[in-house]
């Protein structure tokens, strides 16, 4: 555990996450023949929200006030446990990847509570939808990650990345193709991308994430928006560094190479996400479990395949 590494990765997470969100927004707009907001717009948004006053409902309890902090910190801690620019993640706690998933679940749990707490109709609806989808998306994510963990023989993400570096061909087996697809679908669901949720709208009928955070304003909203863009960055990093570890430096000092490689991988992955958002229509809410259960079956199949496909 290296304090410089922790500080560096914290800064990277904090600074890169809004840029990634902005980039996806900008590319999507370009594909739709719009000029779109500049890629650094999310930074301006966050800075603006941080300066604004907050309005808190008089019916809200301490849960409403604690939620943004819990969400922000749990996401940040989860991010520190993911190898980003080197195979060695700065923080490795109990359980490795299980802790990452657990921390994200904690954030989600509080966010859902925060949606329910002020007793607005939309917040409750958003929380209910989020939990419905999370109940399927989360097991799918766990199974997909277990597939990788079995190949590496460890749930520690740094170990997984190292194994992936050492034997890249093992990570191109059928089970990993299945797991990658499952995890990609989960990524779309978890980050509220188009077949599942529309990040660009506040339409009552469709919104999930936006409905939960409708009551938040000012500094709290900034924290929540920041946390959700960090979550997107973490999941995308997880996807590209675990399945395509190639180019990841093994030790901390070579961060320059690692950063460039990471950026290149993220750009490719972001392009894939944008393409999916652009070519697909949003699914009806009751069709979303179809998609997620497909991800679940793919992940389960991936896990079984690690034992049967030799």
């Amino acid at each position: 555990m290296n304090p410089i590494a922790i500080i560096a990765q914290t800064l990277l997470l904090l600074l890169l996450a809004p840029l990634l969100s902005g980039l996806i927004k900008n590319w999507k707009a370009r594909l739709q023949n719009r000029r779109g907001p500049p890629v650094w717009q999310p930074y301006f948004d966050i800075a603006k929200f941080l300066r604004k006053d907050m309005v808190v409902s008089e019916h809200a309890s301490w849960i409403f006030l604690a939620t943004p902090y819990v969400l922000f910190l749990s996401t940040l801690t989860a991010g520190l446990m993911v190898p980003m620019v080197t195979a060695q993640a700065p923080l490795s706690l109990f359980g490795g990847v299980l802790a990452v998933v657990g921390l994200m679940a904690l954030g989600r749990f509080f966010l859902a509570l925060g949606g329910l707490d002020p007793a607005s109709a939309f917040g409750g609806m958003g929380s209910s939808r989020e939990m419905t989808l999370a109940a399927i998306a989360e097991p799918a994510m766990m199974l997909a990650i277990f597939t990788v963990a079995i190949t590496a023989g460890s749930t520690n993400l740094s170990r997984i990345a190292e194994t992936s570096l050492a034997t890249p061909l093992n990570f191109l087996s059928p089970s990993h193709v299945l797991a990658f697809t499952a995890l990609f679908i989960v990524l779309l669901a978890e980050t509220g991308r188009i077949p599942v949720d529309n990040p660009a709208t506040h339409l009552e009928l469709t919104m999930i994430h936006e409905a939960m955070v409708l009551e938040y304003s000012g500094r709290y909203l900034a924290l929540i928006e920041w946390a959700s863009s960090m979550k997107q960055l973490i999941l995308m990093t997880l996807l590209c560094n675990v399945f395509f570890a190639a180019g990841l430096p093994a030790q901390w000092p070579d961060v320059g190479v690692g950063l460039i490689v990471l950026l290149a991988k993220l750009l490719v992955l972001a392009a894939a996400v944008v393409l999916i958002e652009f070519t697909n229509a949003k699914l009806r809410l009751f069709r979303v479990p179809d998609l997620l259960s497909a991800a679940f079956v793919l992940a389960a199949l991936a896990l079984i395949s690690t034992f049967i496909f030799t």
Binding site: T151, T167, L169, N170, L172, S173, P174, V177, L178, T181, N280, R287, P289, D290, L291, S293, A294, V297, L298, A300, L301, I304, S305, I308, F309, T310
Partner: protein
């Protein structure tokens, strides 16, 4: 798990990608998306044929790769696309079995494919993976055929099953 040579690995990878595409076809309900997925799958099949031709030095397979990509990857999907536009068929398919159940069934088919293939390929050059995936593709293809109601969608399913069959020939 000892690492096999890159050639086998790439061929298996392409076969696995075909399986994923096939499973996605089971999971979604839109007709045009289905045609696009079929085109993608045919493209992967063509690439797999080219990979075999390259890695195992059988040049006549390049011909098959070209035919597959041109015929099933481009011409057929284009034709089906036009057909769907012209007869104005409904976009959403109504399968007999709902997608989540169908997915679970298809997962089971994949396992059956593996169990059936294992005794056949003991000592074979290509390894069990490609053959078992190919059998799974055929089974899922036939399942799609049974599961759908309209002629166009059934034709599409039959073509998918055929993709699996071609995959099998190479295994």
């Amino acid at each position: 798990m000892n690492p096999p040579d890159p050639g086998t690995q790439i061929i298996t990878l392409l076969a696995a990608a075909m399986l994923v595409v096939q499973l996605l076809m089971v999971a979604q309900r839109m007709l045009l998306t289905n045609i696009h997925l079929f085109a993608l799958q045919s493209l992967l099949l063509g690439l797999a044929a080219a990979a075999i031709a390259f890695f195992q030095d059988v040049p006549h397979l390049y011909f098959m790769a070209m035919l597959t990509i041109a015929g099933k990857g481009i011409a057929l999907p284009w034709f089906l696309h036009r057909l769907v536009r012209r007869i104005g068929i409904e976009q959403e398919m109504h399968p007999w079995i709902n997608p989540p159940t169908a997915m679970i069934l298809c997962g089971a088919f994949t396992l059956v494919g593996y169990l059936v293939a294992r005794p056949l390929v003991l000592g074979a050059r290509q390894g069990a993976n490609v053959l078992s995936i190919a059998i799974a593709l055929v089974l899922i293809g036939f399942f799609l055929l049974i599961n759908r109601r309209r002629a166009v969608t059934q034709v599409l399913a039959l073509l998918c099953a055929e993709n699996g069959l071609l995959d099998q020939l190479r295994g």
